[in-house]
């Protein structure tokens, strides 16, 4: 792999790792609140819809999802190797494609809100 390409993959991995480490505990906790039936005020339709309609809200959600998806893809590629799957080119294509699809879906839905 060319050095320039590697730097991009590594940069996304590091940024995504930082973002997910900081944000995901709170994100999981919010899903936990929803699961108990005590959906917080800010996640009721009107408020959350208003948040996701604003450009700042859209940008925050997209950046977190985009970076975390690429972070997960990069690490799942390593996990595949750790569990004995030695077809790296195939695995890399698969995980990065799924991350790309996720990113496009996130952008598509976010643009469609509001």
């Amino acid at each position: 792999m060319a050095i320039a390409k590697k730097a991009i993959v590594w940069g996304l991995f590091a940024a995504g790792g930082t973002v997910s480490s900081f944000v995901f505990p709170a994100l999981i906790a919010l899903f936990l609140f929803i699961a108990t039936g005590n959906t917080p005020e800010g996640l009721q339709f009107e408020q959350f819809h208003a948040f996701a309609s604003s450009w700042l809200g859209k940008a925050c959600l997209f950046i977190v999802l985009f970076l975390s998806l690429w972070h997960a893809a990069h690490r799942l590629r390593v996990v595949a190797h750790d569990f004995g799957i030695r077809k790296d080119a195939l695995v890399a294509n698969a995980v990065y494609t799924v991350a790309a699809i996720g990113s496009v879906l996130a952008a598509f839905y976010l643009i469609g809100i509001g």
Partner: protein, 132 residues
């Protein structure tokens, strides 16, 4: 090189079971499934929100309720904290050491700084969501 070099036999699928450190490494690596899972769960939520229909959003919220989901999210939260967030903060000073002139900022400063920033950011997210 000798004609018959010694090649240590090693399982490519269960190699980490031999050693506690390797097991911890694999447990850390497996949190990547959680990252991917919650990304797609959030995208799924955004799909419901993008319908611009309160009924569709409420149906999504209802579909996420239940004892099984409570247990899953609670375990996921603990697992994620201990095997992603905490290790990531712990390695931060190694990944980005801060040099001040001749001296290096102590590792503990960088780690504590991460925890402080994390608490503030989490509180901000909870405030935005109306939890606090």
């Amino acid at each position: 090189m000798s004609r018959k070099p010694y090649v240590r036999t090693m399982s490519t699928t269960t190699w980490y079971m031999r050693n506690g450190r390797y097991k911890v490494y694999v447990l850390r690596e497996l949190t990547s499934f959680l990252v991917a899972f919650y990304c797609f769960l959030t995208i799924f939520a955004l799909a419901a929100l993008a319908s611009d229909s309160p009924d569709r959003w409420n149906a999504f919220l209802a579909s996420q309720q239940g004892t099984g989901m409570v247990i899953f999210h609670a375990l996921a939260l603990l697992y994620f904290l201990f095997f992603q967030t905490m290790p990531w903060f712990k390695l931060a000073p190694k990944a980005m050491p801060v040099q001040l002139g001749e001296k290096k900022l102590p590792d503990s400063f960088i780690i504590i700084g991460h925890y402080v920033a994390w608490v503030i950011l989490s509180a901000f997210i909870f405030w935005l969501a109306g939890v606090i």
